[in-house]
């Protein structure tokens, strides 16, 4: 019986913690929101405290930032060469076919 009471108390505590300082699902959502939008004061505070208690989410934030940077440099590197003369010919041909 004590075991069960202990379990119930733990579940309750967790619910309260989640309500006050976010679940990991909600915390990671705010981490992503932060990359694009401003967080409210309450959200900032909740996220900060959540991260103090949760290594996994702190790690997630760092890694998500690495991915952001990775995509940025990926975008810079990914321009392929294109045969412009060929493209011009193709466009002229298409326009002719379209009855221009």
């Amino acid at each position: 019986m004590w075991k069960q009471t202990g379990l119930t108390i733990r579940v309750m505590m967790k619910k309260i913690m989640h309500a006050l300082f976010l679940s990991c699902l909600k915390a990671t959502e705010l981490i992503e929101k932060k990359f694009h939008f401003k967080l409210s004061f309450k959200e900032k505070l909740q996220l900060k405290i959540h991260k103090m208690m949760c290594d996994a989410c702190s790690m997630y934030e760092k890694q998500s930032a690495v991915l952001e940077k990775g995509m940025e440099s990926h975008h810079k590197h990914s321009h392929e060469e294109c045969d412009i003369e060929q493209l011009k010919k193709q466009i002229s041909l298409n326009l002719k076919e379209a009855g221009n």
């Binding site: 992503e32 990775g70 493209l87 298409n94």
Partner: protein
């Protein structure tokens, strides 16, 4: 970029006395290169950029009567191209994603805790970050993981870098709400992070 390279006409030679066909053909010659590099910069995909430039000229023929001689043809063409690009992204963002993929249950318990097996591992890249980002193999893994995402999601995560826009501008262009946007990004990043960890850090 020098658009006049080796070309006998001058920019000023666009005169409305000329036939529509002659003008359009001249624009193809003059502006294809610039339109292409703009499109490629915005969509980061060579084949797609070519298609968009072609569509732009087709639209230019159709809308030719709306072109005002006092505005520059290049500006006019770029504005058509920009519409094509936004249309392309809007379509992508409207694509539905299957419910079971969309659900967070792969990563989180019903109460919002991490699934034990999906918790982020330590990547230990703090000092080696620059190194990592310059690593072509890492970039390759990242690309493969991005390509593996549903198109709706990869569009949303990539958009920020295509034209360096902020969240609000992106939402406006795509015609979606901010919360809708960051929830898509959230879901996409969750998958992307997991994929990169599995294929790079755990290998």
């Amino acid at each position: 970029m020098n658009v006049d390279r080796g070309f006998p006409f001058q920019l000023q030679s666009i005169n409305m006395g000329k036939s529509k066909t002659a003008n359009i053909n001249e624009w193809v010659e003059l502006y294809t290169a610039d339109l292409y590099s703009w499109a490629n910069y915005k969509v980061s995909d060579a084949e797609l950029a070519k298609d968009l430039v072609q569509d732009t000229f087709v639209a230019a023929v159709e809308k030719y009567d709306g072109f005002k001689a006092e505005s520059s043809p290049k500006t006019w063409l770029i504005s058509i191209l920009n519409h094509k690009i936004i249309d392309y992204y809007r379509k992508k963002v409207r694509q539905p994603v299957a419910k079971e993929i969309e659900s967070f249950s792969r990563f989180f318990e019903a109460n919002g805790d991490w699934q034990e097996s999906r918790k982020p591992n330590n990547w230990q890249v703090d000092e080696k970050e620059e190194h990592l980002l310059d690593d072509n193999n890492f970039q390759q893994v990242l690309k493969e993981c991005l390509d593996a995402l549903p198109e709706k999601w990869s569009t949303c995560v990539k958009l920020k870098y295509l034209g360096e826009k902020n969240g609000e501008q992106i939402c406006q262009e795509l015609d979606i709400t901010p919360s809708n946007f960051w929830q898509i990004v959230h879901r996409a990043k969750m998958q992307l992070r997991d994929c990169v960890e599995t294929n790079w850090f755990n290998n």
